[in-house]
Amino acid sequence: MKGSNLPFQGTVEQERQLRDKLAELKPQGGALMPALQYAQELYGYLPYEVQKIIAEELNVTLSDVYGVATFYSQFSLFPKGKYQIGICLGTACYVNGSGEIYDKLRNILGIESGECTLDRMFSLDATRCVGCCGMAPVMTVNGDVYGKVKADDVEGILSKYSAKESKNNG
């Protein structure tokens, strides 16, 4: 089954909000797009449980919901991690070796672009140009920008954030 295999953590309150919104949207034609946009905003992603509610309330098939959710890149089947990693695969970064960095990230984290790790700590997105080609290849973690990254630097960068977490927890 495609999509996130993280346990669904939606709250009763979120579900109430979603169902209220769907009841409001249903009488209008073409309710599916605004419904998905609302749910994406509300939950941060569109897991099975949420798409089921949308299908049920709007009286459309789950296949229709999923088809639209996977057609547009504005929707995601995976939640974002606490630390959102972006790796630029734009031309300048790519010719400077960002492909290798991307592979390394996928290997270490065990996820593909668009996905999130099981502990919801890191999510990974392969991005287009982030606007600082002079620093290529560029990798970002939330607001932090790392330039002239080498594949060997990746582990060190990630461990900075992991360490921060274990300090917080400890």
């Binding site: 999509g3 789950l62 229709d64 999923y66 996977t70």
Partner: protein, 580 residues
């Protein structure tokens, strides 16, 4: 009316017609791959493109409306080139195992590729990551042969109201699959197989059981018996170049004997048993024992749909097993005992026009044995006959074996929409009015292809309102009415496939059937009604074998032994099962 020219020939057609329709009206054929009238008109495949004078680009004839003064050209060099390249691009991402593909010589893509002289290997490159789903007992989806025409999606959603498949993702990654790429077995798919019958290529097919049957036939310790459903005789001939509407039952009997089956029975006979039970169950319910309206339970697609979508209506379903399951239970329960055969050594094969029957075979187990061991579709039987070098058309007609080879006209008409209702009414009327000088035999109101048919019959001084539904999408309105307590129906027949079993998902496939569905349904059904009319006995309770079985083994209809062998129960099931 709109005046235009097609290839310089003047045409006059209704406003709103498409170019495709206008061309067809003057005998010009424009090739199509994705088009299905009224069900799927989205211009996805681009094979039907034509040139219109004054327009910059080619247009899709299947969806482009005509206008006054339009000049259309269907076979210019530009059009032919465009079609050829489109086909070659489709072929570039198509697994070309045509030599051994089940649809070889009966594939719409193959025919067009030949017609346009395509080079199948012209565009080599990356191929898609294909979905292969064989999770169910009845269907295999192999997307390496899918051309994204979306006909299966349209028929599932629009004709059947099930909608378990769709186009997922976009661009090069677009593929037809269930939501979240779930396995079909975890969705509300009912197994009707209508998607198979509209697939232009070999991307969809039944899950084959030919090999299992051949192994059983080759095993000297197995006593292999077979029974064919009513609709098989009305369609099998199509796979042997017989005209639509040819009854080949006699030849089927001979062919089955050639194949080595020990006994050649007929599921028509157990359809008569079904009526004995079902008509009596209806009478019991009408007398206050059980819920009304009663729904028929012969159609496994409908039963599965009810279990997943209408749990509150399950007490309304007749508890009778389908003729197929009764067939197995009677062979292993009565026939084995009578002939001193260990029922465990008996291997029961049924030949069905249906893919859902492959799933149904596991539904009921009697005395620890599955009622049915293997189910072949009509198409599989055709292949089995061909593989064994049997020339069907040259065979003499053969008879069926006793005791489950004898049948009445009521059993035959089970294959057409309204047939089960009509057969049940024939017996119910006779039982309720035993002394009437004449009881009604032909119930014309329940025949024909309307999605929902209604009628009121006065039987034994009471008005009995009935409904007949075919095409699963039509069941929703009826079920909603029953659920809301707003229906005054007493008896409702449901067949999943539009037209009934004669149009089942296991029946022969021809490209032209997509365009002439109603004609095919009528011609196949006419075989059954003609055979019914020619019978001396046309009421199930006149079947000698049936009467004998009740007198000597089963006791009274709906009695204790009859219940043990011939009835079943239902349970609510989740529509979707989330995969981990």
């Amino acid at each position: 009316m709109i005046n235009l020219t097609i290839n310089n020939v003047p045409v006059c057609v209704k406003e709103g017609s498409t170019i495709l329709e206008a061309a067809r009206s003057i005998g010009i054929k424009i090739p199509t791959l994705c088009h299905m009238k009224e069900l799927s008109e989205l211009g996805a495949c681009r094979v039907c493109v034509v040139e219109v004078k004054g327009m910059r680009s080619l247009v899709a004839a299947c969806e482009y409306p005509v206008y006054e003064g339009m000049q259309v050209y269907t076979t210019t060099q530009r059009v032919l080139n465009a079609r050829k390249i489109t086909l070659e691009l489709i072929l570039s991402d198509h697994r070309k195992d045509c030599l051994s593909c089940e649809r070889n010589t009966n594939c719409e893509l193959q025919k067009l590729a030949y017609k346009y002289g395509c080079d199948a290997n012209k565009f080599a490159g990356e191929t898609r990551n294909f979905v292969y789903d064989d999770s169910t007992d009845y269907l295999v989806r192999d997307n390496s042969k899918c051309i994204l025409c979306r006909r299966c999606i349209a028929v599932c959603k629009k004709a059947q109201g099930v909608g378990v498949i769709g186009a997922n993702e976009r661009g090069f990654k677009t593929h037809v699959a269930c939501a979240f790429d779930m396995k079909l077995v975890n969705t509300p798919c009912v197994g009707c197989g209508q998607c198979i019958t509209v697939c232009p290529t070999g991307a969809l097919k039944e899950k084959e059981e030919i090999v299992r049957v051949q192994e059983a036939l080759a095993n000297p310790d197995k006593y292999v018996v077979v029974g064919t459903a009513p609709s098989v005789r009305a369609a099998l001939g199509e796979n042997f170049d017989q005209p639509l509407g040819t009854n080949v039952q006699g030849k089927i009997n001979t062919a089955l004997r050639y194949l080595g089956f020990k006994k050649v029975f007929d599921v028509n006979c157990t359809a008569d048993f079904t009526i004995m039970e079902e008509a009596n169950e209806l009478i019991e319910r009408l007398q206050g024992n059980g819920k009304l309206p009663m729904f028929t339970s012969c159609c496994p697609g409908w039963v599965s749909h009810a279990e997943k979508n209408y749990p509150e209506l399950l007490p309304n379903l007749s508890t009778c097993k389908s003729p197929q399951q009764m067939f197995g239970a009677l062979v292993k329960g009565l026939f084995a005992k009578k002939n001193g055969i260990d029922p465990h050594d008996i291997f029961v094969v049924s030949v069905m026009p249906c893919t859902a029957k492959k799933h149904e075979k596991k539904r009921t187990i009697t005395d620890g044995m599955p009622d049915i061991d293997a189910v072949l579709t009509t198409r599989e039987l055709a292949r089995l006959i061909q593989e064994n070098g049997i020339l069907l058309n040259e065979l003499p007609d053969g008879e069926t074996d006793s005791p489950f080879g004898e049948y009445t006209g009521a059993g035959i008409i089970f294959g057409a929409t309204g047939g089960v209702m009509e057969a049940a009414l024939r017996t119910a009327a006779s039982v309720l009015e035993p002394n009437a000088p004449y009881t009604k035999l032909e119930f014309d109101e329940v025949r024909g292809l309307d999605g929902v048919k209604e009628a009121v019959y006065r039987i034994a001084g009471k008005d009995i309102k009935i409904a007949v539904v075919n095409g699963l999408k039509n069941v929703k309105a009826v079920c909603d009415k029953v659920k809301a307590g707003e229906s005054d129906y007493r008896f409702i027949e449901v067949m999943t496939c539009p037209g009934g079993c004669v149009m089942g998902g296991g029946q022969p496939i021809k490209a032209t059937f997509v365009k002439h569905k109603n004609e095919v349904a009528q011609k196949r059904a006419s075989v059954l009604y003609k055979a019914d009319k020619a019978m001396y006995n046309r009421r199930s309770h006149k079947n000698g074998s049936v009467l004998d079985a009740y007198a000597n083994c089963l006791g009274a209809p709906c009695g204790k032994e009859a219940h043990r062998l011939l009835h079943t129960s239902y349970s609510a099931k989740p529509a979707y099962v989330k995969e981990s």
